[in-house]
Symmetry: C3
Subunit: 334 residues, 3 copies
């Protein structure tokens, strides 16, 4: 199959796009970047990760227009839906109004981005989650208040009591969840599940860096905030890998029951490891997470699966290429 | 020498086994994993690190049985004793009841796992250690209470005074050490000392991630705990390397006096770097540490010694292979 | 051009010398280390980073002597001025009394090491900086007191009020700055600007590790200190890269107005990312920073520019080699 006949990899220039483009390039696929005008110079400056072609959009929802979709289809693009892509376009509109092949199961995006469905999925998988307080009156310890629309932890805050909650909620939104605070340290394992060989890989682990809370200890005064600004690398005790592996498998199995054919490609469990060595999961991401950006040439785990430097972006491109070569692209796109 | 005549690398499937197997494979040695039944699927899933052969054991002390040892000897296995191996089998039993070649000096394991010997070793090496309080009445500042049998920091707690100590010790064990708390940040340098060329390398540095203490600042209430759940990468100021190098050399020199032929292969000093730029060592590990798992393809230091991606696991395999090829395996095993 | 005709790369054996030597070696340049006697054994132990030649000096200011400079010139050395080099020799003396080719614009070193000029540079670039309190009486929140001569954060302390300031300043120096404390998490992007193709690269990001403040949360009592003892890796949210890129470009542009031909080669902005996703810059380093030591084989960003493992040290060597080969060394040295 000549490169021209292979699909191109496309995504919005944000989130994990550099890794995705770099991985595609390494696997010999061409790339299409959907880019805001003010980001063109930056993305073009990365000589080994810049997309072969840039489609400039003023508003990311332009992606949903008929003309834009036609252009993507003409260019034989497979879209990789990263976190910002889902945020900008919306999981529901991706399902209802977007007809270009999207890598993975689009229903996953709907299940991960709705807090109630997310919890149903985790529960079915038998994965431990923090308690949700149905009413502020139930708060009986430290809790974190999270907003549904909030991206990257914006506006999250801690509360210790019902009074504290009412003081702090004033003037903010009302689409919140009050979640039990779990003591421990955070681990965000990057899974990859291939629908072709039905194998689950743990391609890396990261921890988010949140401003201001993650350096609040230095001189903090006033309120703590939880805005995601980056990611830090780490590894888990090897004796914890069996637990992480089982959690990933259970999540895949449960997803097959909930939304056929279930989750595949990259996904992540946002967890806290307690001092009882138990992982408590407070979120699922059903697509590539930004923490994988730490590992464009492979992580401390990827060499155990691949002899080449394997990022999650490259892993995706390899799956796409393999499916295209065996004439089976429809198996890995929706 | 054909691969069949070379020894195989064996260890228990835990701790740093993936790195050890991966390193052996890279050096062209075959591998034998000693594995609990519930971990078989996981270890087999790592296509580039799974052992060539898995020996299933229900109880790790089965390793000490005559039949099991015969099997290992028949397979020409050199055992790499990582932290979990020593924990599960015991340094004393490895010395008394285990006749399979073990990489390194088995006496090291006895000296590192006994707090009094460990201190004697550090003192002879002239390495600064925290003060131990002989009696709770002597506590005159922050101190940490550590238990002898405790693995991975389990049960450790902080105290500020004698009263505080008596409150918190109630109901726990009595085989504890009360250790002065040193202010600073932690550095765990990974040394490798080759007995063949008598050279000392600093192959990497890590910091442990402990639950809940290492994210306690986010919203912590109640007691801090110190359970090791993972590791984080870092580098030291280059001007601190002379001090780290001297500490490693002194430790090797002292060990030669205490337990012939002394420590060799990988070892680690668990240290705190104070704001006076002095390292205070609170523990020695006389074998590969889990922090090396951060660097299966090399660390920020290993490229200064090797042109290939060099993990500690691979470094060990290279030593074993070299010794086998020169007919000198007995020099690096006990 | 034969290796003999190419310049050698030279620097003081400290700070980021191993990376610089390793990078030069990878680019096929020979290396000269200026070394204190007590560090010779250490630097010779790095088989792939040790300098081809070591020049032993008892006092680093010996470098300024006529004989020493003649020797460097005879050996056709290009000096790479890292942080310790500038600290030991002094930016002013490098300008006034040092005649050996120095990579980069020596005026940059003067502008980065003088707090007033540094601020003028940042202001002209339109980069947000923390407020400076002209008088202790103006302190109206948390502030950090920094000393001008202080290297690596030595002696820095936090204050909350004028009284607090007067209590803590007693007995210390008087060449201090009182700087507004910015809440957020720290990001230190490693820029590289090539004067040949006028391209700006972001080769990596780190965060400093400071003793005792960065582990103070574990059991801290008494005063916090801010002494730099190492560096930790991290990545920024990809949506923050446009802001970092613009800041780097503005700094380069402003420098061209202030000190012809402006900053080139490696430089770094020491920033805090607030929970409003804005970077506030508290310092500029106009030369290679020690945080690049995390990435001797490339960072999470360098693969987006280079197919080979590219450290900042290697990037410098490549620039030097390229300039030498095109007979244009004077363009990249002063």
């Amino acid at each position: 199959m000549s490169p021209n006949e292979l699909p191109a990899i496309g995504t919005i220039c944000s989130h994990s796009a550099l890794q995705i483009f770099h991985g595609a390039r390494t696997e010999g696929l061409s790339t299409v970047g959907i880019c805001a005008p003010e980001r063109v110079e930056l993305y073009e400056s990365f000589s080994k990760a810049r997309p072969d072609e840039l489609l400039i959009v003023d508003d990311y929802t332009d992606i949903l227009s008929e003309e834009f979709q036609s252009e993507l289809k003409e260019k034989n693009v497979v879209i990789i839906p990263h976190g910002s892509f889902v945020e900008y376009v919306g999981a529901d509109r991706l399902l209802a109004d977007f007809d270009v092949p999207v890598f993975g199961n689009k229903y996953t995006l709907q299940w991960e981005s709705d807090r109630e469905r997310e919890r149903e999925w985790l529960d079915l998988a038998g994965i431990r989650v923090p308690k949700n307080y149905n009413s502020p009156a139930d708060i009986d310890g430290t809790a974190i208040v999270k907003f549904s629309g909030a991206k990257g932890g914006e506006g999250f805050f801690l509360v210790d009591s019902e009074e504290d909650f009412h003081d702090k909620i004033a003037g903010t939104g009302d689409d919140y969840t009050i979640q039990e605070w779990i003591e421990g340290t955070r681990y965000y394992p990057h899974y990859y599940y291939s629908p072709v060989d039905e194998k689950l890989e743990i391609l890396g682990i990261d921890r988010r860096d949140e401003s201001n809370v993650d350096e609040y200890y230095r001189a903090g005064k006033g309120e703590k905030s939880f805005v995601v600004v980056g990611n830090k690398p780490l590894v888990a005790r090897e004796s914890l890998l069996p637990q992480l592996y089982e959690m990933g498998k259970s999540l895949v199995d449960a997803s097959k029951e909930l939304f056929e054919p279930g989750v595949f490609g990259p996904f992540c469990l946002e967890t806290i490891c307690t001092d009882q060595l138990e992982f408590v999961t407070f979120e699922v991401s059903g697509r590539i997470v930004a923490g994988t950006n730490l590992y464009p040439e492979g992580s401390p785990y990827s060499p155990y699966y691949y002899d080449e430097p394997m990022s999650t972006g490259r892993r995706i491109a390899r799956e796409v290429r393999g499916a295209a070569e065996s004439g089976d692209l429809s198996r890995i796109t929706t």
